[in-house]
Each structure stands twice: as structure tokens, then as C-alpha cells.
Amino acid sequence: MSDSDQPVTQRIIVLVSDSCDSNAALEAAARMAGRLGAELQALFVEDVNLLRSAGLPFAREIGLTSATVRPMSPEAVEQQLRAQAERSRALLERIAQRMNIRSSFRVSRGNVESEALGSARPEDMLIICRADHRRRGGSRLSDREGRIVSAAHCTVMLVGERQPEENRAVLVLYANTARGRRSLALAASMARDAAQPLVLLLPPGSEAEHDRLAASAREWAQTHNLQLRFRELGHVDAAALLSALRQEEGDSLVIPRDAAALRDPHDRLLLDEVDTPVVVVP
């Protein structure tokens, strides 16, 4: 494994939208920026579809909880979006000041997904928060997160509302592939910066395969002066990864995008159900 495997994340872009908890996403993004020594940019996208629909003569909003029907107007929606953007900007400034990181705030108007993907370069890390389905009554209408994860050219981190805890392990699903090594390098740099334990999750295989995988990881770890711990998985589906996260009391999970747990369109556990941050390496 060469030093070129070592990722250099130059910028953290956090997507602040109307459907998630900006505070949790900004906190997670600022912490990651601090860890990786990267610049933090918050992107607030005014959803053009929402603005258009508000302009229609029959525009109505149906309450998520109460099911009441309220009239909508473009002015009111614009006002709401501006206010939300201002709140997010103020929040970002406070967090950046507290954590002493460079930050910027950008507002764009358009399709949320396209704006997010369009603004991120391959060396960036895009942070998006999971739409909180429990808060939204369990209803998930679009697979925006899934599409961003699949299409992004950069690393994507999905965060939930759970606040991270000190000294918890960073877990990484390891495979002896280029993507697997990039995942390991990223997880290592996350763990090293916060002095967290690093746990390598080994996919099921023969003893010889495990030994080979572990040896390659150890060799890499030695050159980077890192302590590793290994955990063998029975399966590599989402449930097995979640179980490992729980048992290891993991702080975050780093996973290559080609992992089976992300490929199954019906198994959305990792994208939807977990509070723990999941970092997907393309």
C-alpha cells in the first residue's frame, strides 16, 4: 500500500436542507473538518420544486402530523427558506468559532440533489444528514440520500441525530482492494486524529483469507504506527454491520461503496435506521 492511498480531504461540504437537523449535521461536519484539517463549507439549497409548487394557485400544505390542509404562498415559503438559511448560517459561525476552523456558507437555488453533487469535487467529503423518518412520522418519500451516495464522486458521510461519544471505536469494513485500502486509510486518519481505537471488520472467508487480509492490514498499520483490532463477520449484510457497531460501541462506520450492505435496494438499514455516522468511500 503506498502513501498515495492516504486520502487528503481538502474540503468538507455539509448539505443543510429543510428536512434534517442542521445542528447535528453542522456539528458532525465541523468535527470532521477539525479532525482532517479541512475547510468547512455549508451548502443551503433552496428547493426549486418547492418554490414552484408554492406559486400554484391551488397550493396547499398537508400537515405531516395533524393532516390539516393549510394554504401556501411563494412569499411565505421564500421567507421560511431565508429564515432557515440565516439560522443555519448563524449556527455555522458559532460552531466554527468554537472549534476554530475555517468555514463558509453558500446558498444556491435548484434541485437539492444536483446542487449537492455538483458542488462536491472528488477530494471533498460530502456530509448529508439522514432525513429523520421517526420525526417525520416514518414517511420517506424520496431516496435522495441513496441517490447521492450512489452518484457522488467523493466520500459521503451520512449522519444522524446521535451525538458522538469520546473514545469510541472507528469501524471499517476492510477488503484488500483499492477501495478497501482507501477506506482503511480514511478510517485510520479519523481514528488517529481523535485517538480512537480502530477496528477492522473482516468479511467471512477461510482462515487463510483472513490471515492474508489481517497481514496486509497489519503491514500497513505498522508503517503508519497504528494499533488495530480485528473482528470477523459472519455476514456482510447491514444487520451484521449494525450488530458489530453495537457490540463494539462504535462511533462511526467506514464502508466501501461496493459493499454488499449498500447494494441491496431493499435493505436500507445502513442508510435509514442507524444513528451512527456511516462514511461511504467511492
Binding site: F58, H133, G138, L141, A239, Q247
Partner: protein, 806 residues
């Protein structure tokens, strides 16, 4: 009448022969394992502790320092070891009525076991419950339910979305919900473009949107029902898992308590509570950690009484018997400025600790503590200990408190106190005799004979060892025995006042150490006695000095008319000393009025007045049977400025009055003490040793003439235990002690004349004291009659009568 014979030296002191004791030092003696001289009290203790009926508690009477506490404690401890160990009591949480903690009664030693078991249970639950909820099985089942909820909720929305897609309508998320909008090329149609649509098209779209909105509304309204259904299933799942976790943990030690239904019932209540609170117990977030600890703390036990290390029945002495120390209390924690409590803060009182055994209390301390006496009585009457907060009872504080279930009480209370308190409580507290039916009255002295001296010696040996002092040589023991008699002012008795003897031993030990001796002998004992007296004798020496300087007038030689040396005792704290007091009398014509100047000046007590009345009547009966007593007389204690009481001066008062009447002088070298009855017999008085020594000291300081001495009642002779210097003077004939039986003997000794008895003609012999008195009184009577003639005036007043008899 034969004159009283002066007492010999062996009559004024009963010595103890050291050689007759039969040992050299107290090291040769065995410990005395019984209490001497307290048979009555011990029998009462035996009876009182043996009677198990209600109300047979004991009151041990006797003065302080007599050793009541040690005797009672040792007796009870001996007895208690033969009795069974009582059971344990625990308080546990009452799940039905949280402010009324539940009492669990357990066999002795099981309380602590239960506490440990419940601690273990809590510890297991703390890990077992989260582990159960962390298990893959639970997570899987919970996830399935969660996914089902999502599926059911999304299904209805998806159907609406699908229908919307079919009509080219988009379902869009808004900050607060959803909205519908027509699409064009996959994007929401611009409003201007929509306006440019034909009217019909616009209406069609609006109708579809309206219909979709209604459907969406209906779908959202169904969601709470779906959620409720799933939540109910989650709750059932949680209960099922909790039941598994707690059932396993409890089942392990349930068998141990199979014979305690109350414990089993409590374990079931814990299991039920775990299941009901599984959400808080299974949640591992930091916020719920406190809630979980609070819930868990309710499963613990508070061992109120732990008899696991107790041998026999408990014997408890509570030296600060406050209400709370007796009946227990409920403590509080301060939490964020508020006072909170729970069953774990219930603290036991002495009654709890002594339950099943004996509780010793000092009644004086008990009565000095507010409400403690009433609290004790209430517990004994109801036969249960109920912990009540005094603060709440008297509205001093308003906070959450507990009403723990009362503890059944089976205790024998032994109160220690002086006699006065016993008699006062008997008279004024109607409950007292119902609750304390047995009195154990401690003797203050015991017979002194050969056998008791031997036992006393062993008691001294035991005490010396217990006090950690040097062994006593036999002469030392003999001197202690002699002093034991002196303490009770009786050569035929010995004191049972253990503290005084123990103090004497300790002090003698000090002086023995000072002298470099490894044993305590009589010189050390004597030095301790002398030093005790020296330390207390500042006032006595001051008075002696006043007498020597004749500031206080006391004659100790020569003769004087109407003046006599009486003897009195002054008590200062625990030190008493005697001193002579000059008593004078006057007599003149009058109407039979006897003035007791002390009483008139309100310096005389009622017993003294009684003595003066008796001598007044003796005077009348003896000399004025057939004519009125035409006399006004007065008696005074000269230079006495404090209260005088007692009748021990009545012999002296009678003699000095007769001296005043007969004009016969009285020997001032003698002092006199003794009380008088109406027939002229001399009766015993108290404090004779101090009185004799007091007069001796005055005479001795001026130089003994060989004439000086003391007259005292013959019945007081057995009480004499005089100091060595007095005994030496008596032996050498330089100081005399005369026993009196009648007042005539005193008159003869004091005047040197025959007292005289009435002859056949009713006359006293010529020249006798009584004759002179009789003649003088008859003369006064004649004078009175002469003065009362009608021609002397209608009011009958004489010139010599100044009206004192009015």
C-alpha cells in the same frame, strides 16, 4: 443516778484486723462473681426479667454511684447469653404505597443475606436487562416491528404517490408536511406555465390534486393508529424480554426464602415492577441512567436490625435517649434544594436494636429529652415501634416523609434512677406503674461481720483489678473496710457505694505510685482519705480559724450560765463536717411562751421547731403539772446565719434553758448532741462522727485539757467510727465521749450537780438541778398570780411583760 462512763477507745471505732482477713495482698483473692448486699435487688431483677407478661419492665432504684448500671448490665448480659438470638428486620420499598415502606421479618442473620441477595439482583439486572435488550434476538425483533411500521406507513403514502405519478403530479415535501404540484418533464411545473394552460386542463389538475389531498389526509390520519398498534407490540416484546431477564435473576435465590412468604411476595413485586418499567431500565442513554438507578435503588433492602453477629439476646444501653435515638428516624437527602427520602434512609432506634432483649436507660436523662418518655411509653403500651417524624408531627417542617410499617416490639426496658424519680413517677404518671411493675431497690449498706468482711475484701480485689490499680496489701484492705463503715456512719454496716470505693482505690493507687510502692497499704488509703478531706475543707478551715480568733465565740473551758455548746453538721456537696455552735437561753416571767428565735427569724426548719415544742412540753410536764408555766423563754443559736434544721440540739436546748432558769453554770468543756422525747429520754441523731470531730478539732487547736468531751445519745455509740487522732486522745484520757440515755444524765454531766428525782412527797431533792428549776418556776407562778390580781389592772398585764406573749 450513776454518771455516764466515758467510752473507751475500742468503743469509738471498730477496727478491722488485717491478720484476720487471711491473705497478704489482693492478688491472693479470687474475683467475686456475685454482687454482695443487693440480694433484694438481684431477686427483683431475676423476677422482672423472667416475667414475660406485658408491663413487667423494671425500675432500678438507688442513689447515683452505687453501681446500679454495672450490676444490671452484667446481670442482663449473663442472662441474655442463655436466650435466643432475635430475628432481623428489613425495610423494603412498598410498590403499592411508596410512602409506607414494607417491613420484612426474617430469622436472625438473614436480613444481611437478603440485602446482599438484592444487591446482587440489582447488579445482575443492571447488566442483564440492557444485555437482553442489546441481544441480536431483541434487536432483530424490534427492527422487524420498526420496519413493519415504516412499511405500513409508507405503503399508503406510496399508493398515493403512485396515483399522483399516473396523473403527472408530484408529491413534494415541505418544511411541515407535503404538497402536490403538476409535473412537466419530471420537474414541477412553473406557475406561469400552469396559468397558460387551458382552463379545462387547469380545472382537471386542480380536481386531481384535491382528490389526492383528501386521500393523503386520510392516510396521515390513519398513521397514529398504526403507530399505536406497533408500539403496543413493542411494549409486549419488551415485557417478554424483561420477564426473561428478571425471572432468571430472581429464580436463583428464590428458593432460599421459600419459608418467608413475605420475601417471596416482595420478589414477585420486584419482578412485576421491572416488567412495568422496562422502558427506563432497558434504555442505556445517559439521561435514563439516573432514572434507571432510581428505579433499581427501590429493589434494595435496608437492614434495620442485623443480628447476624449477635450472641444471645441483645443488651443495649442508650446513653443519649432522645426521641429519635429511641424510636428511630427517617433521614432526608437534600436534592436541588428539596428534601427527599426513601426507605433506605430509615434509621433504627435503641428499641429496634434491643428488640428481643433488654434496653437499659437512665431515667433522668430520658425525662430530660423532649417527648422521649412519651415515645417510650407509647411503644411499650402498643407493643410496637412506629417511626414518626417529629418535624412533621409538630409541623416544624413540611416535606415528603415516610410512614414505615411499625415493628412489633418485645423488649424488657430497665430504667435506672434515684428513688425520688420513682416515687414522683408513681404519683404523677398514671401509666408508670402499669408499665414498670417491678422495682429493684438497691441497698446503700450491708451488714458488717466476719463473713461480709471477707466478701468485701474480694469485692475490693475485683474492683482493684478492674480499675487497673496496684494490688492492695491486707492493711490497705482493712483500712478500706473501716472507711466503708465510716462512709455509712455505722460501725456495724458497710457501704455498697461502689463508686466511692473505686475512687478511693484509684486515688490511693496514685499515692502509692507517688511513694514508689508496688502495693497499696493502709498509709496510702489513709492519705487518699486525708487528701479527699483536705481538698474539700476550705470552708471548714475558715470556720475553725474564725473560732480560734474568737470571731465566732465558742468556749471550751470554764463554766457559763445559760450557754452551752451544741453540735451541728454542715453539708457542702458530698463533704460534711461538724462544728460547735453556741446555744443560749433566756427565761423570765411570762405566760408559758417559748420563743424559738431561729423559727421566728425564719431560719429554723420544721423539725427543729418540733424539737423545741417537745422540750417545751417536757418542761411543762416535768415542772408545772399543778400550776401554770409562768415563763417566757427564748432559745437561740448564736452566730448562726443560715438555715438550721433537725432536732439533734434539743437535749442541749433543754439543758441550757434549765441553766437559765436555775442559774446553774454549764461546763463549757463539753458539747452536747441528741434529740429528746417528751419523757426526757435521749434519742439517736445523725452525723455523730463529724460532730465529735468538729468539737475535737476546736479543743485540740486550743490544747486539750483532759476535761473536754462530747455528750451523745447512747444509741449512737454503734455509729462511731472516729478519726485516728480522736481515738488516740480518747485512749489517752485527754478527750471524752459520754453516752446519754436521759436528759438528767446530761444535766449532771454539764452542771456537776445531781439532777434529782421526785421523792414520795413529790419534791425533788434539795440542791438538785431539778429542785432549783422547780423552785424557780413555782416562784414565777406566784409572781404571775400576784401580777394578775384584779387591783393590778383589768388587762392583766404585768410590768415585766412587754407583750411578747400576745
Amino acid at each position: 443516778m450513776p454518771k455516764p462512763q466515758a467510752l473507751k477507745a475500742d468503743q469509738v471505732f471498730r477496727a478491722c484486723d488485717p491478720d484476720a482477713l487471711g491473705f497478704d495482698t489482693t492478688d491472693d483473692l479470687e474475683d467475686l462473681d456475685r454482687i454482695i448486699g443487693q440480694d433484694r435487688a438481684i431477686e427483683a431483677l431475676r423476677f422482672g426479667t423472667g416475667m414475660r407478661s406485658h408491663g413487667y419492665n423494671l425500675f432500678v432504684l438507688g442513689p447515683n454511684g452505687i453501681g446500679k448500671f454495672e450490676v444490671v448490665k452484667h446481670y442482663l448480659q449473663d442472662r441474655a447469653t442463655q436466650e435466643p438470638v432475635p430475628g432481623d428486620y428489613c425495610y423494603v420499598h412498598n410498590f403499592q404505597h411508596p410512602n409506607e415502606p414494607k417491613l420484612l421479618a426474617l430469622p436472625g442473620g438473614q436480613g444481611e443475606q437478603l440485602r446482599k441477595d438484592l444487591e446482587q439482583l440489582v447488579s445482575e439486572l443492571r447488566t442483564a436487562i440492557p444485555a437482553t435488550f442489546e441481544s441480536d434476538e431483541y434487536q432483530q425483533r424490534a427492527r422487524e416491528l420498526h420496519q413493519e411500521l415504516n412499511r405500513r406507513q409508507q405503503q399508503s403514502i406510496r399508493e398515493i404517490q403512485k396515483e399522483a405519478d399516473e396523473h403527472d403530479i408530484a408529491l413534494i415535501q415541505t418544511p411541515g408536511g407535503f404538497t402536490f404540484a403538476p409535473k412537466k418533464d419530471g420537474e414541477v411545473m412553473d406557475p406561469e406555465e400552469f396559468h397558460s394552460l387551458p382552463q379545462e386542463e387547469r380545472e382537471r389538475v386542480e380536481k386531481i390534486v384535491e382528490k389526492l389531498q383528501e386521500k393523503l389526509q386520510a392516510a396521515i390520519q390513519q398513521m397514529p393508529k398504526v403507530r399505536k398498534d406497533i408500539q403496543e407490540r413493542v411494549r409486549k416484546l419488551n415485557e417478554e424480554m424483561a420477564e426473561f431477564a428478571v425471572g432468571h435473576a430472581i429464580g436463583e435465590f428464590k428458593e432460599r426464602y421459600s419459608e418467608s412468604p413475605a420475601v417471596l411476595e416482595h420478589l414477585d413485586a420486584i419482578r412485576q415492577d421491572v416488567v412495568e418499567n422496562v422502558d427506563a431500565l432497558g434504555n442505556q442513554s445517559d439521561q435514563s441512567a439516573n432514572a434507571m438507578e432510581q428505579l433499581m435503588s427501590r429493589y434494595r433492602a435496608n437492614v434495620l436490625v442485623d443480628n447476624s453477629t449477635q450472641q444471645g439476646a441483645p443488651v443495649v444501653y442508650e446513653d443519649l435517649p432522645t426521641y429519635q435515638h429511641l424510636l428511630g428516624r427517617v433521614e432526608h437527602h437534600v436534592h436541588q434544594g428539596a428534601l427527599t427520602t426513601d426507605f433506605r434512609l430509615i434509621k433504627p432506634g435503641a428499641l429496634h436494636r434491643a428488640n428481643g432483649g433488654y434496653l437499659i436507660l437512665d431515667v433522668r436523662k430520658l425525662l430530660m429529652q423532649p417527648l422521649a418518655w412519651e415515645g417510650l411509653k407509647r411503644a411499650l403500651l402498643s407493643r410496637q415501634v412506629k417511626i414518626e417524624s417529629l418535624e412533621q408531627l409538630y409541623s416544624m417542617i413540611s416535606t415528603v416523609s415516610l410512614q414505615p410499617q411499625p415493628v412489633p416490639l418485645d423488649v424488657k426496658v430497665v430504667l435506672l434512677g434515684d428513688r425520688l424519680l420513682y416515687y414522683l413517677l408513681s404519683a404523677y404518671d398514671p401509666d408508670f406503674l402499669d408499665l414498670f411493675k417491678v422495682q429493684a431497690d438497691f441497698e446503700e449498706d450491708l451488714d458488717r461481720d466476719e463473713e461480709s468482711q471477707q466478701l468485701y475484701a474480694r469485692m475490693i480485689a475485683t474492683m482493684a483489678r478492674r480499675e487497673g490499680v496496684r494490688p492492695l496489701e491486707k492493711t490497705g484492705v482493712a483500712r478500706v473496710i473501716e472507711h466503708g463503715s465510716r462512709i455509712v456512719d455505722d460501725s456495724e454496716r458497710l457501704t455498697t457505694h461502689n463508686r466511692q470505693i473505686a475512687d478511693l482505690l484509684s486515688e490511693a493507687n496514685f499515692w502509692a505510685g507517688d511513694a514508689g510502692s508496688h502495693v497499696i497499704d493502709e498509709t496510702h488509703i489513709q492519705r487518699a482519705i486525708d487528701h479527699q478531706e483536705y481538698r474539700a475543707s476550705r470552708i471548714r478551715e475558715r470556720m475553725d480559724r474564725a473560732i480560734q480568733r474568737e470571731t465566732i465565740l465558742i468556749d471550751t473551758e470554764g463554766e457559763a450560765t445559760a450557754q452551752i455548746n451544741g453540735l451541728s453538721v454542715m453539708q457542702l456537696g458530698n463533704y460534711a463536717f461538724g462544728r460547735p455552735t453556741r446555744i443560749t437561753a433566756t427565761a423570765r416571767l411570762g405566760r408559758g411562751h417559748m420563743v424559738d428565735i431561729e423559727r421566728e427569724a425564719k431560719l429554723g426548719g420544721s423539725i427543729h421547731s418540733k424539737g423545741v415544742m417537745i422540750l417545751s412540753n417536757l418542761l411543762g410536764a416535768r415542772y408545772a403539772q399543778d400550776h401554770p408555766l409562768s415563763l417566757n423563754a427564748s432559745i437561740a443559736f448564736e452566730q448562726s446565719y443560715g438555715m438550721v434544721d433537725g432536732d439533734s440540739a434539743s437535749v442541749a436546748e433543754f439543758c441550757v434553758l434549765l441553766s437559765a432558769l436555775s442559774d446553774l453554770p454549764i461546763r463549757q468543756s463539753l458539747a452536747c448532741t441528741g434529740s429528746l422525747n417528751q419523757h426526757g429520754k435521749v434519742q439517736a441523731v445523725g452525723g455523730v462522727n463529724e460532730k465529735i470531730e468538729g468539737f475535737f478539732d476546736v479543743c485540740s487547736a486550743r490544747g486539750l485539757t483532759g476535761e473536754q468531751g462530747v455528750l451523745l445519745p447512747a444509741s449512737n455509740v454503734p455509729h462511731l467510727m472516729l478519726r485516728p487522732d480522736v481515738r488516740e486522745a480518747v485512749a489517752a484520757g485527754r478527750f471524752h465521749i459520754y453516752p446519754l440515755n436521759t436528759v438528767d444524765e446530761a444535766l449532771e454531766m454539764l452542771t456537776g450537780r445531781e439532777a434529782g428525782e421526785r421523792g414520795d412527797e413529790g419534791q425533788f431533792p434539795e440542791g438538785s438541778v431539778n429542785r432549783l428549776v422547780d423552785d424557780r418556776l413555782q416562784e414565777l407562778s406566784r409572781l404571775q398570780r400576784w401580777e394578775s390580781r384584779p387591783e393590778r389592772g383589768s388587762n392583766g398585764k404585768s410590768e415585766t411583760d412587754n407583750g411578747n406573749d400576745e
